[in-house]
Amino acid sequence: MKKKLLSVVLCTAMLVPTLAGCGGGGTDAPAETPAAEEAPATEEAPAATEAETPTAAEEAPAAADGEAVTLTVLAGQSTTDAGIEEMIDEALAKAYPNITLEWECVDWGNDFQPKMQQYMQSGLPDIMIGKAQDVATYAPQGILGEIDAAYLDRGLDAARQNVTIDGKTYGLVYNALYQGVYYNKDMFEENGWSVPKTQDDLQKIIDDCKAKGITPFASHMVDTWSIGNVTMQFAMNDVFNNDPTWGDKFRAGEVSFANDEMMKTAYQYNKLIYDNTYPETFSTEQTDCDAKMVMGEAAMKVSGSWSIQNFLDIDESFNFGIFPFPNQTGDSKLIFEPNITIMTSAESEHQDAINCVLDVLTSDKELAVEIYDYTKTAPMLKDVTPTFANPSQADIDEYASSNMIVDVTLGNNQLVWGGFQEENAKDIAAWLQGDISFEDCLAASDARVDSSSAN
């Protein structure tokens, strides 16, 4: 009898917390946390932030108070960014010794979104570093603080465009990457190839490469993200440059991957790369791929500024340039991607300290140059010029001067990366490997329509 009683007690002990845990019926997890509960509605968030956020001029005395503050930072980093946290710490220690940053650095592609989801339940870090496209994902949730104009004004105007929602800017874009086809300038000169503007021009170079035993393209398709990245590059010039609202139309059922010739063409370019790269591309990682490019084993590589670090680390005299992947109409634009984007928590108790960090990041030109030189990226701050020798800079300047540059955030906001582009890239890989048909690949993208938008 007593044993039975004990069993009942133990079962009750187990069930009570269990039922308590799943109780509350309609109580949603985010609402269970104070941060989420108190998060204002989308429209209200900036107003609340405005009230709490002092201007740059006002916050200086707060920093001078010397009260020790530790700010938490979630940094979603690209491969080029790892290491900049130490530079920022050092500069911050000089300007505001009372402020310490507690960094959590993760890979942006794989881990930033999961971490953000986790922190949206438990309370956001004070500062989040991601990419410009993250603003469109998280600002509508009412969790991001508006960035003070005092700091934004120190950046280029182009930096604000895609991080501003309803007139309020939630991200401070710090640097930018360029994406396109990196090419071996010396090899191009030796073989008499000029920068291709049309698909026919490109095909001639590919044919000549093959005739001379040169691999036309270096690629590393083992990294599915690289397939997703180049596909968006193709789509920018063949789809979004013609129709900037293609994603909206896709969600409205007006266009589809299976029926849109422009999008089909963008997907087909992957086959062009696959057919003209080395056979071990699905076993080759980025570093090995970049090394092959530098060693002259391949003539071109569809990539972005993240490859420059590798190129110059392997051979600092490597002479390379960049051009946009030619589209069907011969008017491709070089792709520009706002990269390091600093976002702040609307609910942080340390807004003044956050502003001190923003102050250091935007006013310390020495730090900025150090970061740009290290990451080999382009500045998004006014009056800051990196000192590293970028052989592709002349090409970038030329495209910039002729207004042939386009911000990829447009495409990334129309068709989001997480859950859509990266999933489509897996299907493209399966199609290239012959596991599924091209039609199935397109149909899979169409079936994913509900995941194509951040909100």
């Binding site: 007593k2 044993k3 004990l6 007690v9 133990l10 002990a13 187990m14 917390p17 269990t18 845990g21 799943c22 309609g26 949603d28 997890a29 985010p30 609402a31 989420a36 794989n110 979104q113 999961p114 953000m116 989801q117 949206m120 949730q141 398709m221 083992v222 990294d223 599915t224 071990e280 591309t281 699905f282 076993s283 080759t284 990682e285 090995d288 997480g418 859950g419 859509f420 990266e422 999933e423 897996k426 299907d427 493209i428 890989a429 399966a430 199609w431 290239l432 490997q433 596991d435 599924i436 899979a444 995941s451 951040a454």
Partner: protein
């Protein structure tokens, strides 16, 4: 008087049991039962993992699972990976254990060498084998002038073989030790009696060794099966579920759907089906294998 003392002792023991069991219950409940029940609850919603709205969708997520080609493909890969692992690891672990139990020289050295890989994180194992297949082994082709395809992670047709090699390399030593312990606990007089009765080595193996090892076989089969059904970290570090979706396991698909794809409700439905499958497989295996166990 005697009866009262006994009752008092029983009461004390019960209290002790209760106190000793309680921490385990609390940890188990908080760490496993509550998340599991929450997953069941989320699985009937269309929650994206971020917003406050968790719209109830009934069994729609489960219905959608049946139509989801990616989910079916993930299950197919997981099943092949599990079957391959269960067979290869059990057979090789048992063979190695028999070899080590036969009294060969440097037994401790072999045992250590086989066991060391399982001390390494699966993430490291994934990286190691990615480099092995991509960089190290292809060098042998150049050295030897051969043309062996070592790029096993580079094709959907060979990626399963590559992952089985990596996974078996890591875990065979672990299961081998369990078999070895089982072998060493088989009474020697059983073998001697069988020898006297004229039983040969093969007959002794199938009529004494295997039946006596049945408890160890149960542990190994269930452990390998459930472990393989849950494979994730090895894939993250080596193939990232590719090429394409060729090595996407159920857990990998669940994670990318729920977290990267912002379909937390749908991902929860995937995880619930996996838990049910794991329970079913474990119950069937334990029931089936327990009935074969014998006592010396």
């Amino acid at each position: 008087m005697q009866k009262t003392k006994k009752q008092s002792m029983e009461k004390k023991l019960e209290k002790q049991y209760f106190v000793m069991v309680l921490p385990g219950f609390i940890i188990f409940t908080i760490g496993l039962i509550i998340p599991l029940l929450l997953a069941v609850r989320y699985s009937v919603t269309s929650w994206d993992g971020m917003s406050k709205i968790k719209e109830f969708v009934g069994l729609q997520n489960y219905i959608n699972l049946w139509k989801d080609a990616d989910f079916r493909s993930a299950w197919w890969f997981t099943i092949k990976f599990t079957i391959g692992n269960t067979i290869i690891q059990n057979v090789l672990a048992l063979l190695f254990a028999l070899a080590l139990d036969s009294g060969i020289k440097a037994q401790k050295l072999y045992r250590t060498a086989f066991f060391v890989p399982c001390l390494i994180s699966s993430i490291i194992v994934g990286f190691v084998w990615l480099k092995m297949f991509s960089n190290v082994l292809p060098e042998f082709n150049e050295l030897l002038g051969t043309n062996i395809n070592f790029l096993l992670f580079g094709s959907g047709e060979t990626v399963l073989s590559g992952l089985l090699i990596a996974n078996n390399w890591q875990w065979i030593g672990y299961w081998m030790l369990i078999y070895l312990a089982g072998l060493q606990s088989v009474p020697a007089d059983l073998y001697e009696a069988a020898k006297v009765d004229g039983a040969g080595p093969i007959s002794r193996f199938f009529n004494i060794t295997i039946p006596m090892l049945a408890p160890a076989i149960t542990i190994c089969v269930v452990g390998i099966t459930t472990g393989s059904l849950k494979v994730y970290d090895l894939l993250v570090a080596s193939t990232k579920g590719g090429p394409g979706r060729a090595s996407t396991s159920v857990i990998y698909q669940t994670y990318t759907t729920a977290i990267n794809g912002r379909q937390y409700g749908y991902g929860s439905a995937m995880s619930v089906t996996l838990v049910l499958a794991l329970l079913l497989v474990a119950v069937i295996q334990v029931k089936g294998l327990k009935s074969k166990e014998v006592q010396a």
